[in-house]
């Protein structure tokens, strides 16, 4: 005889080997034929099992529903799940149902006994729910609680292709256990209480379970049997199912190893078990889980948020220490000290109690100033006669005097100061304006400040008193306000008639009036006199109109604040004359030989006021210095 190749692990075994030396798979059945079992030597079998052997069960006319999955198994196992065997086992032909399988498929469930030792916590099989307790052949490797439900249904063909060595090993284990048979303790009660097969035929489910008992011999050590804590008979009675007598007899009288006919008996379900083992594990499609937390609680089929949330771990904590050297630490300390000095709240200074609205000091200073200003009115002018005239004022005088050659001269007077500076600029400008009016100059007044037109009227009203021959109706025109700043100024310098369309007071077209008739550009004026209180105003006229004057004198009367800043323009020749402040007006009046000029009239008050201001400033500085010294002396205690 040739060696027997194990259909599971392909191991060659001796011809007389009954089980595979490698994996323990039973080989005799696979190798032998159906005549291997000697019926004469076979033990007494139950009637229903005998009927299986005699083949008197009715052949199904058409494959039932349960045959479908067997058919699928036949078609799937040899081709996909297992290595092709060289010799087909006896009794197994591809495409033809195995006898015992067919019998099992056609056997009513009531004819099969119930398997004792159902898993705890699971309700015993009842006629109302037979599928839930139907175990299946080859299920010994599974937990009893998982056995029945999934295996009771045929597996899809595509899933019947898995067979692993581990499963085979487990199969060999329970096969070995089956060879030894159950212990006497377990089998004897079942033998006594085993009902007759006729009685069992009424219970289809119990009969099916009895078939399982033949296929899956419970492991005495397993929790499946031990957890019951009761005898199989009691368990069976408790579950309301009958235990067939044949497994009891089988377990009660263990057959010796020399009785292959009995041992061969389980080979039929053994093949089924192997085929079942070839099937992939049942993929139980779990019902969609219900979300139990969050806003989607109670909705099935959503991604469980709780499990997803648990996958996230808190962010890792890193050390916040920064490695710095000594120099950096020193700088940080310095910065911190600086910031601390800035943000540290200083103690609130105690508010001084003020019983008077503004303080006595301010009142005294104000009264002293007013008294100083009034002093010349009380004691008469005391200002010294101005002798050293500044060159810019002399140039102003000369430039205005030079206008007398053109009769009548046409002069553009620009008002570019705020009302607050009106007293100063009116005082300073009265001398030059008086000269112009006295020579019957045609005056055109243009304002680059909105309040300029009104201030111009006020200025000329003050000047007209000294010029009796001046005829404002003919010799004076108020062109009004020129908007646009430097841009407007440049536009006016280029084309005055396009920029100014009407006079301020009469709203007539000005360029036909005698004062400005024939004026096309700013250079057509005989002189431009700008009265400004700021450097920017004077610069704008110098920068924008200066290059377009073409020899026309540009004269300026500036405030005492802007005069020093505009002086370089006079020194560079960009300004032909400059009168700065009240003192400049006084100089001009002196040159003009006009002792009644307002500048000279106010010069005494101005000097008196300056002396008072200087004295108060000096006294205040000394008092502050003395106070600080005394405070430091008290603090040091010296």
């Amino acid at each position: 005889m040739t060696d027997i190749r194990c259909p599971i692990c392909d191991t060659l075994n001796p011809p007389d080997a009954e089980v595979c030396s490698n994996c323990g798979t039973r080989l005799t059945y696979l190798e032998g034929d159906s005549d291997f079992i000697d019926p004469a030597e076979a033990p007494e079998l139950p009637d229903w099992l005998k009927s299986y052997r005699e083949g008197d069960e009715p052949e199904p006319e058409e494959p039932s529903e349960s045959d479908d999955w067997l058919e699928s198994l036949r078609g799937a196992v040899p081709s996909e799940g297992m290595e092709p065997e060289e010799e087909e086992p006896a009794g197994f032909e591809p495409g033809k149902p195995v006898d015992w399988m067919a019998r099992l498929a056609n056997e009513p469930l009531a004819a099969r006994s119930f398997t004792p030792g159902e898993p705890s916590g699971k309700a015993p099989s009842t006629p109302e729910e037979p599928e839930a307790s139907q175990p299946e052949a080859g299920e010994g490797k599974e937990q009893p609680g998982e056995a029945g439900f999934a295996r009771a249904f045929p597996e899809p063909e595509g899933l019947a292709e898995q067979s692993s060595a581990e499963e085979t090993e487990e199969d060999s284990t329970w096969l070995d256990a089956l060879r030894g048979g159950p212990s006497d303790e377990e089998a004897s009660p079942a033998e006594e209480k085993a009902p007759e097969p006729e009685e069992r035929e009424g219970s289809e489910e119990a009969d099916f379970a009895g078939a399982r008992v033949f296929q899956m011999e419970p492991d005495p050590d397993s929790a499946w049997s031990a957890s019951a804590g009761e005898s199989p008979e009691e368990e069976a009675q408790k579950n309301g199912a009958d235990i067939p007598d044949w497994p009891v007899e089988e377990s009660g009288e263990p057959l010796p190893e020399s009785q292959p006919e009995y041992e061969e008996q389980p080979e039929e379900p053994d093949l089924a078990g192997e085929l079942e083992a070839a099937l992939p594990p049942a993929v139980e499609e779990e019902p969609p889980a219900l979300e139990d937390t969050g806003p989607l609680a109670g909705i099935a089929g959503v991604i469980p948020g709780s499990s997803a949330a648990t996958r996230f771990t808190p962010p890792p904590a890193y050390s916040s220490r920064v490695v710095v050297n000594d120099k950096q630490r020193l700088h940080a300390a310095l910065l911190e000290s600086l910031v601390h000095e800035k943000v540290a709240p200083a103690p609130a200074a105690r508010e001084r109690r003020r019983s008077r609205p503004a303080g006595l000091g301010r009142l005294i200073v104000g009264l002293i100033l007013i008294a100083a200003v009034l002093l010349p009115r009380l004691v008469g002018p005391f200002a010294s006669q101005l002798a050293l005239f500044p060159p810019e004022t002399i140039h102003m005088r000369e430039a205005i005097a030079g206008l007398s050659g053109s009769i009548p001269p046409r002069v553009l007077v620009v008002i570019d100061y705020q009302p607050a500076y009106a007293p100063e600029l009116e005082t300073a400008a009265q001398g030059p304006l008086l000269d112009l009016l006295r020579m019957n100059a045609r005056i055109a007044i243009l304002s680059t400040h909105p309040a300029g037109p009104v201030l111009a009227d006020r200025l000329l009203d003050a000047v007209e008193n000294g010029a009796d021959a001046f005829q404002p109706e003919e010799e004076l025109v108020n062109l009004g306000y020129l908007p646009g700043g430097a841009s407007g100024l440049q536009a006016f310098a280029l084309a005055p008639q396009r920029v100014i369309q009407s006079t301020f007071d009469t709203h007539r077209f000005p360029w036909q009036l005698p004062a400005v008739s024939g004026i096309e550009t700013i250079a057509d004026f005989n002189a431009v006199l700008v009265l400004t209180d700021s450097l920017e105003g004077g610069q704008a006229w110098i920068e924008q109109a200066g290059p377009l004057l073409d020899g026309t004198p540009l004269l300026m009367v500036a405030s005492a604040q802007a005069g020093p800043l505009l002086l370089p323009y006079q020194q560079s020749g960009q300004i032909d004359g400059l009168v700065s402040g009240l003192v400049g007006g006084g100089y001009y009046s002196t040159i003009q030989a006009n002792p009644d000029g307002p500048a000279l009239q106010r010069l005494s008050s101005y000097q008196a006021g300056l002396i008072v201001i200087l004295g108060i400033t000096l006294l205040g500085s000394l008092a502050q210095l003395a106070g600080s010294r005394s405070k430091s002396t008290r603090s040091t205690g010296v």
Binding site: A358, P423, S487
Partner: protein, 216 residues
């Protein structure tokens, strides 16, 4: 003195005294006079701009008989003015960028050109002539030193040497100290000018009070 002049003179005296009341500190009289001046000035300026700028430069050229060129120019001004008004409405504020860009660009061009041609070049040339033969050399040197020292004071560049704290060079530091003196003199002169202007205004007001009171 006629009645209107009398009324205005009395009103002027009262307002002047209300302003002088500030020597007692901030008080309702001073605030009333201040608010009155501010309000009158704002109203006057508004009326002036309407009558002197908007109507004659925007409205009349479009509404009255004028040449097509004048109307086109006025229309451009009206459109730009309306676009500028959209700055008051946040969703449409971006429309005002066009007139703002025009104003800024044109104004900058005018101011920069005037500053270069009217101030920088002439003043630089005048400073150079001071060092010419027959020029005022001392004045020129004074201006030169003052200019350089003032510029050095506003030079904030510093360099670290030999691990010492960053600081300016010795020459720059010395010039900056001299610049401090020039800057102090300049600011003192400006302050004196402000004080002189204020003093002149005080003198004018006191003269007004004395003259007005003596006329009653």
């Amino acid at each position: 003195m006629e009645f209107p002049d009398l009324i205005w003179t009395i009103l002027g005296i009262l307002l002047t005294l209300m302003i002088f009341s500030y020597v007692w500190g901030d008080n309702p009289f001073f605030r009333t006079a201040s608010y009155l001046f501010v309000g009158v000035t704002a109203g006057y300026v508004a009326v002036l701009l309407i009558t002197q700028v908007i109507l004659p430069r925007l409205a009349w050229p479009l509404l009255r008989t004028s040449t097509p060129t004048e109307k086109a120019i006025a229309a451009v001004g009206v459109v730009l003015a309306l676009l500028l008004l959209t700055k008051l409405v946040r969703p449409l504020a971006w429309l005002g960028n066009l007139p703002m860009a025009y104003l800024t660009g044109a104004g900058a061009a005018v101011v920069i050109g005037g500053a270069v041609l009217g101030t920088i070049i002439p003043q630089t040339l005048d400073g150079i002539t001071a060092f010419a033969p027959g020029g005022q050399l001392i004045d020129g040197l004074f201006m030169l030193i003052g200019t350089i020292a003032t510029l050095a004071y506003f030079h904030f560049g510093a360099r670290s040497r030999n691990g010492e704290p960053p600081g300016r060079g010795i020459l720059v530091e010395g010039l900056s100290q001299a610049g401090k003196v020039f800057i102090g003199i300049t600011l003192g002169a400006l302050f004196a000018g402000v004080m002189a202007a204020s003093l002149t205004a005080l003198i004018e007001r006191v003269d007004f009070l004395v003259t007005s009171l003596t006329q009653f």
